[in-house]
């Protein structure tokens, strides 16, 4: 490949990250950079020729790893995700002291709310802990999203939505977890992980879910060293020619195996239920059945891992017979559903169901909270047990766990937010 223009590589220097394959922090940084569409080059520290070519003849072998060199030449060693985000200028604060709407989470629901709210003139701030797109952002190809007949990747959908929200004037803070809120008459005092505070007249919780942990001995120790939660884009090319195991029966797992089948020599999908079709869209299960290097193990679960510092084998057991066998694996991707992210709002006594999801609208009355609903009207359709605090997308009790459904809820929430703003005045 060459040439006058064939190469689409960025023309300006990117980020260089060097470390060991088994470093969990290096994986966190790779995943963060990749999900934020930031150009970087990953160098295994054992590849001395590459290390010297990229980093010069310094004493890199003695530096604490991982080493990260930012485009402005700043060297971080050992680098942490927070230092990298800050070094890239991603730590700027909110521009205003008060917003009409604060959106917590920039997945499909949050992004849709951000676009609609900003387009209707609301002062809108979006706060995202990691990167735009949420769980859908790591999906390689969504083929049943309305308006994209050839499919669209979750990352591309998120990139477009972020550009759209910004064009309408929404502010988006990335790599800044939302850690708490405090009601103050008709506004909420909001706090971010770095201590930044701002006021919001309404809040939309669209914080989504995080991957459920796989309770198998040894798995947590191998995080980043062959074991990954979700199937982020940063590791796909690294699977070239290797063997990959994916756990999960949902669309995320299905999209992951289709993606990895393009790179890996063999992909094994481990599913607890007896039928793939019970939890996965038919178009995906049909696609999987037609790909020769994908092997589907239904009625099975992962019960162990073998490693020598890096994952080597995965032990899979049939649930009915308890027969087990070891499968050689260069990577294990775990996509087994989600646990709602509600840590930031638990301290205010919000009603939450037994599984951790947030009830809204008519559902609110069925669940206990530390305070009584304070209004003469009932909660609005997507309103939680606190007036002016709304929830949409995967974190909401009863939501349909599909990208388009989350976009629908996020969009719909803005009409309800207008009602609340009119109620407290100033609309």
């Amino acid at each position: 490949m060459s040439l006058f223009d064939y190469d689409n590589r960025p023309a300006t220097p990117g980020i260089i990250l060097a470390g060991t394959a088994i470093s969990a922090e290096a994986y966190r940084i790779r995943d963060f950079l990749s999900r934020n569409s930031l150009q970087y080059e990953w160098v295994e520290i054992t590849d001395t020729q590459r290390v010297r070519a990229l980093l010069g003849n310094g004493d890199f072998m003695t530096l604490p790893l991982p080493v990260c060199i930012l485009p402005d030449g700043t060297r971080l060693s050992p680098a942490t995700l927070e230092q990298v985000a800050s070094g890239l200028g991603m730590d700027s604060g909110p521009l205003l002291s008060e917003y009409d709407l604060a959106v917590v989470g920039a997945g499909p629901a949050g992004l849709a709310a951000g676009v609609y709210a900003a387009s209707e003139g609301l002062r809108t701030l979006m706060v995202e802990a990691v990167a735009p797109g949420g769980q859908a952002g790591t999906t390689s190809m969504i083929e049943n999203y309305l308006g994209f007949p050839n499919g669209i990747s979750g990352g591309e959908l998120a990139t477009r939505a972020v550009a759209q929200a910004r064009r309408f004037g929404a502010e988006i803070l990335l790599a800044r977890p939302f850690v708490g809120l405090e009601p103050e008459s008709d506004v909420y005092q909001c706090q971010l992980s770095d201590g930044t505070t701002f006021l919001a007249r309404t809040i939309l919780l669209a914080s989504g879910v995080e991957w459920r942990r796989l309770e198998v001995p040894g798995v947590e120790d191998l995080l980043g060293a062959g074991v990954y939660y979700g199937a982020g884009p940063s590791e796909a090319i690294g699977c070239s020619g290797g063997q990959v195991v994916v756990v999960g029966g949902g669309n995320s797992a299905g999209q992951a195996v289709v993606r990895f089948s393009r790179y890996a020599s063999r992909v094994v999908l481990v599913v607890r239920s007896d039928h793939l079709a019970s939890s996965m869209s038919k178009y995906l299960s049909d696609r999987i059945a037609a790909i020769p290097n994908i092997e589907v193990r239904t009625g099975s679960e992962v019960v162990g891992v073998h490693a020598d510092g890096y994952l080597r084998e995965v032990l899979i057991e049939a649930r009915d017979t308890s027969a087990s066998d070891s499968v050689g694996a260069d990577a294990l991707f775990i996509c087994i559903g989600g646990v709602p992210r509600t840590d930031a709002v638990r301290s205010v006594g919000l009603a939450i169901d037994d599984s951790g999801y947030i009830p809204t609208g008519r559902d609110v009355g069925s669940f206990g909270s530390s305070h009584l609903w304070s209004m003469s009207r009932p909660p609005l359709l997507l309103e939680t047990s606190l007036p002016g605090l709304f929830a949409a997308g995967d974190v909401r009790r009863g939501s349909i766990k599909r990208c388009a459904a989350a976009v629908g809820e996020g969009s719909m929430s803005v009409a309800l937010i207008h009602q609340r703003l009119a109620e407290i005045g100033g609309e």
Binding site: S2, D5, S140, G155, R262
Partner: protein
């Protein structure tokens, strides 16, 4: 015209094609471009050219910066990819999955809102010549992109199209070939040449002629 074999490889670049042309020649060329439907702005320096590009690109625009020594040395690459003012398409394409998103990548690269690039020769009669090994940047310049901004160093002015083609083979190609071997480890090639004699869509292409040596 040569067939694009190895006529220029290994030969030194012809010095005459690397010399800055007179301000008169720059002005004449600018007028000829305007007469051909291609607005031309004369900049005195690369920093003025950089400011002009900034003023021509609307904030938030989707921009593809073609691989170009001119853009690199004028600081335009930095502005597009790093300033945060635009949506840099290169960075987006670079992050996409070559296998799963090939179709999306093709459409995005083929039709950016704005393309910023350079040329290998501009004639005093107002024609633009651009060579390309893969041809990928030519489609958007001809019609795919919404707007095209071309920054042209004052050494690229030639009397006519024949001289422009000679400039490509005898000057740009040897230098580009050397660069490609150093950066990509592969040779370059004059596999495609685009000649724009006149722009039909009014003001779709804008040229910035710089009174300074810039690029190959």
């Amino acid at each position: 015209m040569s067939d694009g074999s190895d006529a220029g490889v290994g030969k030194p670049a012809r010095v005459e094609f690397g010399q800055l042309k007179s301000e008169d020649a720059v002005r004449r060329t600018a007028n000829a471009l305007v007469a051909n439907g291609i607005p031309a702005i004369v900049a005195e320096s690369r920093s003025e050219a950089r400011d002009l590009v900034r003023s021509l690109l609307p904030g938030g625009a989707e921009v593809f910066n073609n691989t170009s020594r001119t853009l690199q040395s004028a600081g335009v690459d930095d502005d597009i990819e790093r300033s945060g003012r635009y949506q840099p398409l290169r960075l987006r394409l670079y992050q996409m999955d070559r296998e799963m998103q090939a179709r999306e990548m093709r459409s995005l690269a083929a039709s950016p809102d704005y393309v910023v690039g350079s040329v290998h020769a501009v004639t005093e009669g107002g024609s633009l010549l651009i060579a390309s090994a893969s041809g990928s940047q030519l489609g958007p310049i001809v019609s795919g992109a919404g707007h095209v901004i071309l920054i042209v160093g004052g050494q690229k002015i030639v009397p006519d199209v024949d001289a422009g083609i000679r400039r490509i083979y005898e000057y740009s190609w040897p230098l580009e070939d050397q660069r490609a071997r150093e950066v990509y480890g592969v040779p370059s090639g004059v596999n495609n040449i685009l000649i724009i004699n006149r722009a039909v869509a009014e003001a779709r292409i804008t040229t910035i002629l710089v009174n300074e040596i810039l690029g190959f």
